[in-house]
Amino acid sequence: MQAYIQVLTNGLMLGALYACIAVGFSLVWGVLNIINMMHGSLIILGGYLTFFGWFHLKINPLIMLLIVPPFLFLFGYVLQYVMINRVIARPVLATLTLTFGLDMILYNFMNVVFEATPRRITMDFGSFSFYDVVLPGDRLLAMVLAFALTGILYWVMRTSRIGRAIVAVRMDKDAAALMGIPINRVYAVTFAISAMMAGVCGVLMAVTFPVTTNISGLLLGKAFAVCVIGGLGSVPGALVGGLALGLIESLSGNWWGPQNAVLTGSVLMIILLMTRPTGLLGKAGYE
């Protein structure tokens, strides 16, 4: 029993991180119809900024949560406004190729400048035990923050002017334009929010994982899987998809060994694609 509670806890904590990885990716895919191949590298960039802030300037990683995401917000805004907006009306392949190319530049830039050596913030956040179930402090913190920040994002999307504008553009961009919504600015803000969430995730990842460029492709893959499972373009979709994937990997790893954990996640993804292409929470038309 305790073993199962531990497995479920592990899965939930991992799932929260997955949700955080995917939420920005899902938003951009759903609203802009852009598959942002850069997303993994943006997370890693956030991770490196956090690491170097801690290593050289002795800034607490949690304070970096106030610095890194706004920086990436700006970075994303400029990138979208200056480059991606120019090809956004083209077929999805054009934007895919552009972000793929940008990813190669960013990825190799980080490889050359930071080197791929895995680095870790050697802070001890301790761990909490209830009976025999252990909750590592850093993961717990990352989970709480991931939930809180996705919650805030959800709230912003539901209540703020810009949030409603984003939702409107996602529903029907022509109608939104006719209603006087500045589409290009909404696109840029959406992309910026996505990059900001990548920054948030980068900070949380830097606290819990070694920072290295090696895993940027892996993160992108997870974001894909979460979107397919949870559904595109909505915050709750990413949350549900992330938690589902985390729990599936954790449980199947426990039952059939870790070598089959990723496989099980992928099989489930294929089944969902065949039976429910909109994902668990997606609405038809956004797939």
Partner: protein, 400 residues
């Protein structure tokens, strides 16, 4: 217009970072060695380790006027090309180096998997290829005649380790093995299972984790339930740093924790800090194993000193093995007195030399014959050799 200009500038910048040295046309009295290296991509770090060591060797050789080929000194040129940690590209680049750049010899990239690819190409063209970082026998059992590797078989490492640990700590009865699904780490996990069983240990957990695994909590929780006395995990640095950290977070421990290759790399110890203490490992080389030699370096100390002065960090087995591979090639060329590929190949097969890295003598499959490989433990943040006795500086300590 402005946009396309910026794009072309950006892509140019990207290409410049991707491109390594562009091969230059060289005169005929130069020995050309082609080096496909992972300078970008997932193995960028490891690829750079090879590159650094090649450069150290090259500098010394050319400073001495080059390699003595039948009484005539020939300068050496290394044509390093980045294959971006992409298996298919490694193959194309090996082909290009042989057919277009007309290299005389090749070096293999990092890791057993990519070495196999390059060795396959080299074999087809009859070009001797020096593999410095491939230790899985599955690479050397293909019947290749032109492939020579300076690392010894994986089995040699686990066999010594299992025997020694059981002798020093007779209470150790149960071992849990977790290996990465990848040529080298998987082979290290399989070898350990065999060695552990031969040493009378009970294997209570034996699983692998896939390359796309981001997290080890599940596997580790399961290992905890099997309450082993010895936890053995193979993988690459980022896996092992994460695994060791998660073990400490999840309060999972055992008297012996072994990570292959973990502590062989300084970055493993740096990234983990105090948690690295007590982790044991084995390696093909450690700079505390001192050898005297009549190669370009002359002794282990000399290599170590120059490396530290240049890189401000300790060399690891990858650096040493990469330099040793080129030393071995150099010796074979000198012995053959020609750069004829087939004759150098025969001289390589007959190699029996002492280098700063230790003795090198190839078995029939082209692998360096097993020798007593160092077993090490991290003690107070330092790598301490435990075995063999000639280089021993401490005893095995149990993790509390």
């Amino acid at each position: 217009m402005r946009f396309s200009k910026m794009m072309s500038l950006l892509s140019l910048a990207g290409f410049l970072t991707i491109l390594a040295t562009k091969p230059a046309m060289a005169a005929d009295d130069v020995i050309r060695i082609g080096a496909p290296l992972a300078l970008t991509g997932a193995l960028a770090d490891e690829g750079k380790k090879q590159q650094v060591a090649y450069a150290m060797w090259l500098k010394r050789v050319n400073a001495a006027g080059g390699i003595n080929v039948g009484g005539k000194k020939m300068k050496v040129e290394i044509i390093a090309v980045d294959y971006q940690t992409d298996e298919k590209r490694a193959q194309q680049i090996a082909e290009k180096l042989i057919t277009q750049d007309k290299v005389d010899f090749l070096t293999a990239p990092f890791g057993s998997g990519h070495t196999k690819v390059v060795a396959g190409v080299a074999e087809r063209y009859g070009v001797p290829v020096m593999a410095s970082v491939a230790s899985s026998e599955s690479v050397f059992n293909q019947g290749y005649k032109f492939l020579f590797g300076t690392l010894s078989p994986n089995g040699g490492i686990t066999e010594n380790m299992a025997k020694m640990f059981v002798k020093v700590m007779p209470n150790v009865k149960k071992i849990a093995i977790l290996g990465r699904e990848d040529v080298f780490p998987k082979s290290m996990a399989n070898e350990m299972k065999a060695s552990a069983e031969r040493a009378g240990l009970q294997v209570v957990y034996n699983e692998t984790y896939p390359v796309g695994m981001l997290d080890h909590a599940t596997a580790l929780s399961k290992i905890k339930a099997s309450s082993p006395d010895w936890i053995y995990i193979s993988g690459y640095t980022q896996d092992l740093v994460l695994a060791r950290k998660q073990m400490s977070d999840l309060k999972i421990t055992a008297p012996i924790i072994t990570m292959i290759t973990g502590p062989s790399y300084q970055e493993f110890i740096t990234a983990l800090g105090p948690v690295a203490d007590g982790v044991t490992s084995a390696s093909w080389w450690h700079h505390s194993a001192l050898y005297k030699s009549n190669d370009v370096f002359g002794s282990t100390q000399e290599f170590y000193k120059e490396f530290v002065a240049q890189n401000k960090s300790d060399p690891d087995y990858v650096n040493a093995s990469a330099a040793a591979a080129l030393i071995t090639l150099q010796k074979a060329i000198e012995k053959a007195g020609t750069i004829d590929k087939a004759k150098v190949r025969d001289a390589l097969a007959a190699t029996d030399i002492m280098t700063f890295y230790g003795p090198i003598k190839f078995g029939p499959n082209g692998m360096n014959q097993g020798r007593e490989l160092p077993i090490v433990q991290v003690q107070k943040g330092k790598v301490v050799p435990l075995f063999p006795d000639v280089i021993k500086q401490g005893s095995l300590q149990a993790i509390k």
